[in-house]
Amino acid sequence: MKKEGLNPVQHFRLREKETRFRTPFFFLRILLLAFFVLTPFLFRSFEVLDVILKIAIFSALVASYDVILGYTGIVSLGHVLYFGIGSYLVGIFMGKLGWTSYGHLALSFLIAIVISGILSVLIGLFSLRIRAIFFAMVTLAFMEFTFILSSQLRSITGGDDGISFKLPGILAIDFSYGKILGIEFTGRLISYYLIIIVSLILFLLMLRFVHSPVGRVLQSIRDNEQRSIALGFRTYHFQVIASSFASCVAAVTGGCFAIWVRYVSPDSSLSVPIMLDVLLMVIVGGMGTLYGGIFGATFLMVTRAFLPKLQVLIASLLPGVPLAIRLSERWLFYFGLLFILIVYFFPKGIVGTAQEIFSKRRGS
């Protein structure tokens, strides 16, 4: 195999092609995908399906956040803004305007992508210019602003009540295709598979992006900005590119989320708590790994699904102790503590630590 005259990206791809089937990771990925595909057949309860699908959506969202945070090294605190834009456009098109057709659904996604792209480029243009830390502050301010806007503009966004809507054709709730392998194929299930496919495509797109020449430059900016500048890269342009790419991906995941829950409101798709969730997922999974998002989302979603049961248990064990009940209600408190502890003792997250262990083993 000739290896002269290849740039590092081509070199990396060649090596990956050679070792593709030899590593266990390939089969792990297939297994994971198979799990997502087979979930409706394995678990018959809707709750489980709901959790699994949210894991898929949030994995893609967290991975898109990771492109900014872990690969480019700039902190955005308003990434959920684009998620909200995606959700709201689907909501407004389907619910407020009542244009329930496939064409309009696609159009709403397209407009969401365009708006998110333009907005993120604008925010990047005037806040990344001086200090990367401004970016964190300005994105946070913009998200808060949009959040308040979405709850104030009642005529467009439905205010705090949000918009609930119907979806066209085969995605509609009352649609039923009949039974396949003992499972009834309803609109819900079809949207489940649609969203899984979209998430998969987004994930592959992001993998491609971070391993592309542009992605390489981004990582070099993260590791040593001065040096990248000295090498002649306009780091500022690359940072804006990364942030707008990630924002577009986030907008699509937001649209998918809206399709699944068939409802948008400021609290469910545009609020600071969701941003905190995303941050926690990134930290738990590991920054700069993309796959970390899956672990982070799984961890958080599963814990969150089980927490109410735990709460009932504590309430039944300690009746009449208001402080204990209050302490058990405030699960966000423990997430905050966990957040701090992970940053201290486990800063690479699950995937990062695993990678470190593997590379050590390979090295020795």
Binding site: L77, F333, G336, V343
Partner: protein, 328 residues
């Protein structure tokens, strides 16, 4: 044009912009709105000055500042109620007793939150000095924990903030309605500004802090234990946030656990507009935000937040580092 002329020219334009709402609002209402705008500005200054100073000196983007603000409001609320139960000064007709109980509540809030700030700085932020990324995460974590602690201790619901009797109502001067409390807030805010300014300008500690904003390593080289000053500045910033919280709560007459998250965005904007690490910048930025917010809230209520964002965008595009340089 000489530079002196130029600076006067800029000031003139600024004054003209802030007088321009007079074209749309009648003068009496204008004065009332201006007073509440200045009051809001002074209260914002209390929050953002600490935030800005902490960023300038420690280079920590302290997102937990809003939570400390909320803690200040809640401690002010509790101590006011406690003292009032005990003495009944809040309901008495004497203005002096009203002031005493108000200040006692504020001082208690300031002291306790300063303590909380010291604990936060020591336990949470100290281990990650130097890493911007982890600092942001850790302060986000601290913000969640502090805010949830409020919910655990005081409960998750809104509470009505008690106000001393003489602070309510308004004076009527030649048909111009002047609310009492905003005027007091302006005065207290201005006094605090003078105090901070004098400490920073005239005392040795202030000089060290200002030097630290410019170059922390050099301060260390000169033989000062900079970490002690870090803790001190953090505590002072927290105390300012707490006093701001208590006064803000009295201003809007209600408190809720998430109030810090709302104010932190304003503090961010003010700090960016004024220039991070600049006291003068904080006060100017806070007044700009407070005034423009109130004028627009009167004229076009729904655009009031928009004007704040617009202000941020304009300032960032003409002066990307804010209006004033660090350390002024």
């Amino acid at each position: 044009m000489t530079s002196q002329w130029r600076s006067w020219f800029h000031k003139l334009i600024a004054v003209a912009i802030f007088l321009s709402p007079l074209l749309l609002i009648n003068p009496k209402t204008y004065i009332t709105i201006t007073i509440s705008g200045l009051a809001m500005g002074m209260l914002l200054f209390l929050v953002s000055s600490g935030f800005s100073l902490i960023f300038g000196f420690l280079s920590v983007l302290n997102l937990a500042h809003g939570a400390l603000f909320a803690w200040g409001a809640y401690i002010g609320f509790s101590s006011f109620n406690l003292i009032n139960q005990w003495t009944g000064w809040g309901g008495s007709n004497s203005l002096l007793l009203n002031f005493i109980i108000f200040f006692l509540a504020l001082i208690l809030a300031g002291l306790l939150v300063a303590l909380l700030g010291i604990i936060t700085e020591r336990l949470v932020i100290r281990p990650v000095y130097g890493s911007h990324l982890f600092q942001i995460f850790i302060t986000v974590g601290a913000m969640i924990v502090l805010e949830e602690l409020i919910r655990i201790i005081w409960g998750p619901n809104d509470e009505v903030m008690p106000v001393p009797i003489n602070f309510m109502g308004s004076w009527d001067l030649f048909d111009v309605v002047i609310s009492k409390y905003p005027l007091m807030a302006i005065v207290i805010g201005f006094i605090l500004y003078l105090v901070i300014f004098t400490i920073l300008r005239k005392t040795k500690i202030g000089t060290i802090v200002r030097a630290g904003v410019e170059n922390p390593e050099m301060v260390q080289v000169m033989g000062h234990n900079i970490y002690r000053y870090f803790t001190g500045v953090f505590a002072a910033g927290s105390a300012l946030a707490a006093i701001g919280g208590g006064m803000w709560a009295t201003f809007v007459k209600s408190i809720h656990p998430a109030m810090g998250g709302e104010i932190i965005v304003f503090a961010l904007i003010v700090a960016i507009i004024g220039g991070l690490g600049s006291m003068t910048g904080s006060v100017v930025g806070a007044l700009m935000v407070g005034l423009s917010y109130n004028y627009v809230a009167y004229l076009v209520p729904k655009a009031s937040l928009g004007i704040t964002m617009l202000l941020l965008v304009i300032i960032l595009s003409i002066r990307p580092t804010g209006l004033f340089p660090e350390g002024t």
